[in-house]
């Protein structure tokens, strides 16, 4: 595993623990808001997309009939991956918070801890294999 691989793998849970640590900062302080916002909008999504992507990238995507820009396909793939990171993060946040509310067990800290643990777990999961 290269240093870059390790960083890609461990950065999402690290931002989660930073967000947990930021809860000790004063209410509404910019550093706290930033740490929480970065993790909630990117952490879980980055961790899960890292696992999924080897399998996701293999099949050819449907694209335009034109072929004058040979880099077009690659850029669409990058956009697709960038799109998935925040949307999967927000999806996981929504499901976690809703589940805790339905269980009458909602609190902000519980949401954050659950998401951080999920992200940590995802970081230790092997990536899917292209098939």
């Amino acid at each position: 595993m290269t240093a870059r691989d390790l960083l890609t793998r461990m950065l999402p849970p690290l931002t989660g623990w930073l967000a947990v640590g930021a809860l000790t900062l004063p209410d509404g302080s910019p550093a706290r808001v930033a740490a929480v916002a970065v993790f909630l909008t990117a952490g879980p999504g980055a961790a899960l997309v890292r696992i999924w992507w080897p399998a996701l990238r293999v099949p050819p995507a449907v694209g335009p009939a034109e072929d004058w820009d040979t880099r077009f396909t690659g850029r669409s793939g990058v956009l697709e991956r960038l799109l998935l990171v925040p949307l999967v993060s927000l999806a996981v946040l929504t499901v976690t918070a809703t589940a805790l509310l339905a269980a009458q067990a909602f609190s902000g800290r519980r949401v954050l801890l659950l998401l951080t643990l999920l992200t940590l777990l995802a970081a230790y999961c092997p990536r899917t294999r292209p098939s």
Partner: protein, 644 residues
């Protein structure tokens, strides 16, 4: 017809190393700096683009440098004008034209410069995406950040209602039933968006969502760009078409569903699901073992849509169903997954609401006339409201007409983008199904817009001149100048459509403070009555306070109230159990809504206020320049009743 991009891999890039279809595969061996804006030279195309050689002479170099930098100019000028306009705009005295007349003229100049700069920047089919993105982001900032900066409080009573829902979840820490919350329990049956916001509020350590509410239109509009661009990129490589489509989507999306609401997030997720299905779910014959992973991704994105919103999952299911019927995307998995999730949620958590609403929903099926009606008390009244209303209609009609024209005059695009054409035709079907609280026509427009904007852009651009081989030529002068007035007109028409009724939507700090103090100090079980619900915290603490809006009664009852305002209202409000009290609230926001939607004239409003102010039944308990709070003297009403 679009095909799997990987099928053309060997033809397109003999140098490619990778085997997969993503940007990280290293398929392209072109130098990375070629993706910079400077790569979009009129003679030397960006790397990876097949086109004529750029030449090597000093004049060519100078031209290349100029081409690389000139789009910065209009963008910088526009944003500077906008910044100046925002700094010098004052909104203390809004008239009936809202922000249209309040904003400094520099704003309009900036918007025109931005639109013209955009149009000339994207004239090349191979212009780097960074420029299109920069201009569209500039447009969104000018469109959706202006209100956040010039108004000290968030706009829209509906957004304030959603803040109240988040407040309820934070206070209760759980979901409640209809028996406990009445009509507002519907939000506990689709709580996804609010649950996420409740977590954000707690974790950020802020009191409420008000700051987020102000900036949400910008955030949600930026978020929707990625799936929108991805959808457009599925059908063309032509950057003019892609970014002009995105531009028209931004200016045509005046409907205002970008505010702090479940549907704003649900729209993004809906478009993301469609983009992924269009790109990654070709016909079943192409299906492979990756299907399970892609289906997992789709389900992950669909779940919050189902948890958050009533209408969007329906549109999603119908859209996926239509796609599954086409030869190009004949794969029922996404459709079945959406149906299963929708059924699972609606037959369990939201069943109480659905079972109560089902008879009315069934009755409205096929009643198209009723489904497109805007409802009682929503007739634009006064020059400002009428102008805004007609500007919005003209804007939508222009985009739809351009879309029809674009689809008609570009048969090759009609073939290539047939799935998108079909998806654009799905939302109007909803009009036959339901009125959605008199809002269906607006929602239909919103869901049509991603596809309509793409084809509308095609109407403004020349045919690309073949789909194979070298990069298409730049837009000829004729096609550059003729559509420019249209681009300018629709860009400017967005402002009255979106912000022309800000007198209705804006609640000054005095109004927010007056209502906030009332909600905070009212004992449990109190009744807060008002003319209508157009004021901040119209649903404040709804889990412990009752709210009543007398202009929403049927017309006969409203007539009775207008004939003897104080007495009729007092009798309506008197049955409040101790320790609750009954309050009557008049604010400028309510007055603006009553006047601009044709519910009351100014004279009628003043008569109601005067009747209450001089009545023995009511006692004034709070007042500022934005409104007045009266408390009902229940004993006085009882004495009067006994005397009769």
């Amino acid at each position: 017809m679009p095909g799997p991009e990987g099928d053309r891999r060997d033809r397109r890039d003999g140098r490619g190393r990778g085997t997969a279809g993503d940007g990280g595969s290293g398929r392209d061996a072109s130098p990375p700096d070629a993706t910079a804006p400077g790569g979009a030279d009129p003679r030397a195309p960006q790397a990876g683009v097949r086109g004529p050689s750029g030449g090597t002479g000093p004049r060519t170099s100078a031209r290349r440098r100029w081409s690389a930098v000139w789009p910065v100019g209009p963008l910088a000028v526009a944003l500077t004008l906008w910044a100046y306009a925002v700094r010098t705009t004052h909104v203390t005295e809004l008239d009936d034209f809202g922000l249209v007349s309040a904003v400094h003229p520099a704003y309009w100049a900036g918007l025109a410069v931005l639109a013209a700069g955009f149009w000339f920047t994207v004239r090349r089919p191979d212009r780097a995406d960074a420029w299109g993105l920069a201009y569209v982001l500039g447009l969104l900032v000018m469109q959706r950040a202006t209100q956040a900066l010039v108004y000290p409080t968030p706009l829209h009573a509906w957004a304030w209602k959603h803040d109240a829902v988040v407040g309820h979840l934070l206070t209760d820490g759980g979901l409640r039933t209809g028996a406990e919350l009445g009509d507002m329990a519907v939000y506990d049956q689709w709580p996804g968006f609010f649950a996420a916001q409740a977590a954000v509020v707690r974790l950020a350590g802020v009191e409420n969502t008000l700051t987020l509410m102000s900036w949400w239109p910008l955030l949600s509009s930026v978020l929707v760009l990625a799936p929108l661009v991805l959808i457009h990129r599925t059908f063309t490589q032509d950057r003019r078409l892609i970014w002009t489509g995105v531009w028209l989507f931004c200016v045509g999306n005046w409907v205002g569903q970008d505010y702090f609401s479940p549907q704003s997030l649900a729209l993004t997720l809906h478009l993301a699901v469609l983009a992924l299905v269009l790109r990654r779910f070709p016909g079943a014959e192409h299906r492979g073992s990756r299907q399970a992973v892609w289906t997992t991704v789709l389900v992950t994105l669909m779940v919050p849509v189902v948890l958050s919103h009533q209408l969007t999952p329906v549109v999603l299911i119908v859209s996926l169903g239509v796609l599954a019927l086409t030869r190009r995307h004949r794969d029922g998995v996404p459709f079945l997954a959406a149906v299963a999730l929708f059924a699972a949620w609606n037959l369990t958590a939201s069943l109480p609401f659905l079972s109560a609403a089902l008879p009315e929903m069934l009755a409205s099926v096929g009643d198209i006339g009723a489904n497109v009606e805007t409802g009682y008390g929503t007739t634009p009244t006064g020059a400002g409201a009428v102008t805004a209303s007609w500007a919005a209609r003209a804007l939508s009609a222009t985009v739809v007409a351009l879309a029809v024209l674009g689809a008609l005059r570009r048969p090759e695009l009609r073939r290539q983008a047939r799935p998108l054409l079909l998806l654009t035709g799905v939302p109007p079907l909803l009009i036959a199904a339901n009125g959605y609280g008199s809002e269906m026509i607006f929602r239909v427009l919103m869901f049509m817009l991603p596809g309509a904007a793409f084809f509308a852009a095609a109407a403004l651009l020349p045919r690309s001149g073949g789909t194979r081989g070298a990069v298409p030529p730049p837009t000829p002068a004729r096609w550059l100048w003729l559509p420019l007035p249209v681009v300018l007109a629709v860009t400017l028409a967005f402002v009255p459509s979106y912000a022309g009724k800000d007198r209705l939507s804006y609640f000054p700090p005095a109004e927010a403070a007056l209502v906030g103090d009332l909600v905070e100090s009212a004992p449990d079980g109190s009744l807060v009555a008002a003319a209508n619900r157009n004021y901040p915290q119209a649903y404040g603490d709804y889990w412990r306070l009752d709210h009543y809006w007398f202009l929403e009664e049927d017309p006969a009852k409203v007539e009775r109230i207008l004939s003897r305002p104080a007495r009729t209202l007092a009798l309506d409000m008197k049955d409040v159990a101790e320790p609750g009290r009954a309050y009557l609230l008049f604010t400028e926001g309510q007055r603006a809504d009553a006047e601009m939607n044709g519910r009351l004239t100014g004279a009628e409003w003043r008569r109601v206020e005067k009747s209450v102010a001089t009545s023995a039944y009511f006692r004034r308990v709070a007042h500022n320049r934005a409104g007045t709070v009266y408390e009902l003297d229940v004993r006085a009403v009882a004495v009067e009743e006994d005397a009769r």
